[in-house]
Symmetry: C2
Subunit: 276 residues, 2 copies
């Protein structure tokens, strides 16, 4: 009996151990199995575009990605602020790897275009760069102001600009140096006002931008114009002086569209604000 | 002793049960805890744009998303095929919820623009629609041809077109009906050749598109022109006839850019092919 009892106890212990093992194996594998089943169901049942999910089936993150894409493809009407439900999405995007990857791909495309273009000997080939969110990043400012949720506050933003601490966007700095080395003239065309010339020069130099050929800021006479009109007029002026605009880098469509547009334009991503 | 033995066995059993409970609790919580720790580390250590990851740190999916964004924002040079490493990404995109969501957001923006525009009494307000990947979807064809990986094969594609089985993009169908109800003339301007008029009419009608005012197909004389040139000329012709182009929906920039452009253009997503 004793040995039986002992044996019974041992069996109970073994059974308990078995239960532990089974539970662990199941606990570890259930999520993986569920994921695999999900994946399979997804592959088999995934509808073509013709079979549509209802609006409720679109997760907020997917909808916000669609909103961002629509902004980048110039499909949105003028917008004043990031939709409230997308603020978290925009924060994740601009502080994560995707924004940096997007910036890098655009810079690479621009670089390929610059290298393929044959720069003439006459010093008339120009690359136009916008400043904010193109050469310099105001992300530290927007991090303090809701990443585009807050309506634009000129006074607060001016205070930030006057610190002269906006960091370079490294891919743009690399592109800037490359087009200069290729022999392009570099014209910086910014919506910043003439009153900020000093601090802008200081900020740019501190961040490694040197030897630009022109830095064009918004004069009092340009204040009421849309950016599209102001920048188009300035580009037209460049052409009138015999320059050929081979490339134009900007984060706003208003940096790139209008008239006297560049041979090719490069739209850097910016889901935080819109300037008409 | 007996009762002690029994007690010992019971304790052993309880201990085993405790082990089960502890193991289960740990197994369930470890991934969550790890995720929370990851999240926290991410929030605390996440770099601003100025501190860049090296290229190796960009996951393939993020890079492919950047490639797609660059395509949609017209930042890419003409491209012949989807990059090989992005074929899986593109397949997931066009067969998943994101593509449909992107199509829906663009259609909604277009609809808002149509409703805000005041349609005149003179019947001269026009909405221009492209056909392929705008009103009709060729996704069933591309599903059989690598989702953009394969170089475009005119013969194979023509066979597909001649079936007349391309499904409607439902958001576009809804927009189409809405702009007609608002009083817009609907001009369908397609890169399909005049020889495909019959099957295109049949396919469109079968899918619910009716009563368009013009269906303009590519004539023999237009064959050598780029789409941008061909469509710009046709839009110029519309303007010459006194029409006002209020909206233009297309999946290619060559549907939208050039001259005689629309008051507003709507770029539908298409990461599968590029037409200059």
């Amino acid at each position: 009996m004793r040995s039986q009892r002992h044996g019974g106890c041992f069996v109970l212990f073994l059974l308990s151990l078995l239960v532990v093992v089974v539970v662990v194996v199941v606990a570890v594998n259930v999520p993986a199995a569920a994921a695999a089943a999900d994946e399979e169901a997804y592959l088999l049942q995934r509808p073509l575009v013709i079979e549509l999910p209802t609006a409720e089936e679109v997760p907020a993150e997917v909808w916000c990605a669609s909103w961002r894409l629509a902004a980048e493809a110039d499909n949105l009407a003028p917008w004043k602020a990031v939709p409230e439900e997308c603020v978290g999405y925009v924060r994740e995007y601009v502080t994560g790897v995707a924004y940096r990857s997007d910036l890098e791909v655009v810079a690479r495309e621009a670089s390929a275009h610059a290298r393929a273009a044959r720069v003439g000997d006459d010093g008339r080939d120009v690359w136009v760069f916008d400043v904010d969110e193109t050469l310099l990043s105001n992300l530290p400012y927007y991090a303090e102001h809701g990443y585009g949720l807050e309506l634009f506050d000129h006074r607060e933003f001016d205070k930030w600009v006057e610190k002269g601490d906006a960091p370079a966007i490294p891919f743009s700095l690399k592109l800037y140096k490359e087009v200069r080395e290729l022999g392009f003239k570099t014209f910086l065309l910014t919506g910043r006002s003439e009153g900020h010339r000093g601090i802008t020069v200081e900020n740019l130099k501190k961040q490694g931008f040197h030897d630009w050929d022109k830095l064009i800021l918004r004069a009092a006479a340009d204040r009421e114009k849309t950016t599209t009109a102001y920048k188009s007029e300035k580009r037209k002026g460049m052409e009138a002086q015999g320059y050929r605009i081979v490339g134009n880098s900007g984060d706003q469509w208003s940096d790139l569209l209008g008239f006297s547009t560049s041979a090719r334009s490069f739209k850097l991503p910016n889901p935080m604000y819109y300037i008409p």
